[in-house]
């Protein structure tokens, strides 16, 4: 425990953030749960065989809701009339970062997964088909949650970097980034292989294939699972630290 990361203060900060946003969170939770409940009810009652297909639908809502929630986690800091309270709160930047992440990641995950279980169980019960739950516990479940957590760090950075409409601005930034990335890689591909992809069938193709295989199998997953989220969290830390009113 250091002056920069004090666990007691971190706990107080998490509690404060939850209390301060409790009413807004309840409204959001009630609205989303209500909609899901109605949709699940309709599916279970009118189309019992499709109850299993509700899980992907829940996941889409869970992902989307999580990213919107993450984008809003620093709203207090972006409001001109509230930012003074957030920035002068005797909590270190590291505690603010970790505290906010704990709320949007583990706390949100547990709440969302529990809600999905309850909804899934309820709709299976209405459909008279109590077998929908394993869909949530499938072998890809942890991978899906992992992907959610990694992608979430992008929205976490967006929450610290943009002032207002953070979710939409993050989406726009992603769109611009991937467009530029596609143009760049397309250009590089064109230079390397030409218009017909003829380079693939000649000289360096075997070595190149091995290199690409190693890159895709080992380096890319490592970059995605570890380097990218850590890098984004570190950048978020400095964004918070540099933040002025």
């Amino acid at each position: 425990m250091t002056t920069e990361l004090n666990l007691t203060r971190l706990g107080h900060f998490i509690k404060r953030q939850l209390y301060m946003n409790l009413s807004a969170m309840w409204v959001a939770i009630a609205a989303v749960t209500g909609i899901l409940l109605v949709v699940s009810g309709f599916v279970a009652y009118f189309n019992p065989d499709d109850v299993r297909n509700l899980i992907p639908f829940y996941l889409v809502v869970f992902f989307l809701g999580g990213y919107i929630f993450t984008s809003m986690i620093f709203n207090e800091m972006h409001s001109p009339q509230k930012s003074y309270a957030f920035l002068t709160l005797p909590v270190s930047t590291a505690e603010k970062l970790v505290g906010a992440w704990v709320i949007v990641a583990p706390v949100y995950l547990i709440t969302a997964v529990a809600s999905m279980f309850i909804l899934g169980a309820a709709s299976s019960w209405v459909a008279g088909e109590p077998v929908a739950l394993p869909g949530l516990l499938g072998k890809n479940a942890f991978k899906i949650l992992g992907i959610f957590l990694v992608c979430q760090t992008i929205f976490f950075l967006g929450a610290t970097a943009f002032k207002g409409n953070n979710f939409l601005k993050t989406l726009l930034a992603l769109f611009v980034f991937f467009t530029l990335w596609a143009m760049y890689t397309g250009g590089v591909g064109y230079i390397l292989f030409g218009a017909n992809g003829s380079g693939v069938n000649h000289g360096f193709s075997h070595e190149f294939k091995n290199l690409m295989e190693a890159f895709v199998k080992h380096i890319l997953p490592f970059l995605f699972w570890f380097v990218l989220p850590l890098y984004l969290l570190v950048v978020s830390y400095f964004k918070l630290k540099e933040r002025q009113v």
């Binding site: 002056t3 004090n6 203060r9 107080h12 509690k15 404060r16 209390y19 301060m20 409790l22 009413s23 409001s79 001109p80 009339q81 509230k82 930012s83 003074y84 309270a85 920035l87 002068t88 709160l89 005797p90 909590v91 270190s92 930047t93 505690e95 630290k241 002025q244 009113v245």
Partner: protein
């Protein structure tokens, strides 16, 4: 002690606000920070509380760099801005979730201040009027026992009884460890409260003296008829007569008229400052 040393600051794409600004604020005093709109009062307060970072120079609060915003420094600062928004929770909840960050917070003091301001702790913050919210923030800020209390236009939105309660509470809460900085346009609200006057004009400190020195060196007259011209430092029309600031030749301490003084400083700071010529300038 708060020490601003050679501060240079500008907002993005705007002209320089502070150029080589230095200022020292000592514990045990209430400072009145005065100035016209856009003089830089709020920006100066934000620099002190670490909400803005200087482009160059240093701002330290009891030895901590303000811009570092370390918890040790932040628990010694409580800021009440002019415009604020409180969360939709009850007073008691707000206190419960925020007081834990201030190690010297006193619930007894808070109860006393709330009683003085006639606020109940089961009220919901969102249902309070602006003036009541401000009184609550002032009470909470004082109860944190932060050594630096910064109030930006604290009397805005307060009714007349509340203004007098405010003065009473502020005067009683000062001790030798605390620095209270009050920035305001409503200079009359600070009468009999502040110990030092700091006047900002276009990012420069044009006046910085204690009330004791001011009342020793200046006298405030509401009819200048018969006063020799060489003693007059500033004049203005007041209900058909000439009122003004004159040199306190007799040396008898006089009541400081804050409004007259502020007008005099803003209109002719060199003449007013001349009366303090052989005093050590305090910044």
């Amino acid at each position: 002690m708060i020490e601003l040393s050679h501060i240079n600051f500008r907002y993005k794409k705007k002209k320089q606000l502070f150029e080589n600004l230095s200022l020292t604020l000592q514990p045990g005093f209430i400072y009145g920070l005065l100035g016209k709109n856009g003089a830089g009062k709020s920006s100066l307060l934000k620099l002190v509380s670490g909400l803005l970072y200087p482009n160059s120079g240093q701002c330290t609060v009891f030895g901590h760099h303000a811009a570092a915003r370390k918890p040790a420094m932040l628990q010694d600062i409580y800021m009440i801005p002019e415009e604020f928004e409180l969360p939709p929770v009850s007073l008691a909840t707000f206190v419960k979730i925020n007081s834990v960050f201030y190690t010297r917070f006193s619930q007894n003091q808070l109860n006393a201040y709330l009683a003085e301001f006639e606020l109940s702790d089961d009220a919901k913050l969102s249902t309070l009027s602006y003036g009541q919210k401000k009184k609550f923030l002032i009470a909470f800020g004082l109860a944190t026992n932060a050594r630096v209390l910064i109030l930006d236009e604290p009397t805005n939105g307060l009714d007349i009884p509340s203004k007098s309660q405010f003065r009473k509470i502020m005067a009683a809460s000062l001790d030798e460890d605390k620095i209270i900085i009050i920035s305001t346009h409503q200079v009359r609200d600070l009468e009999n409260l502040i110990d030092n006057i700091v006047v900002l004009e276009q990012g420069n400190i044009i006046f910085n003296y204690s009330i004791a020195h001011i009342s020793e060196r200046l006298a405030f007259e509401y009819n200048l008829a018969g006063v020799p011209d060489e003693e007059i430092l500033y004049t203005e029309e007041l209900q058909g007569r000439k009122a003004g600031i004159v040199k306190n030749i007799a040396g008898v301490d006089s009541r400081v008229d804050m409004e007259l003084l502020f007008n005099g400083i803003v209109k002719n700071a060199p003449a007013i400052n001349e009366a303090f010529a052989n005093l050590k300038y305090e910044y």
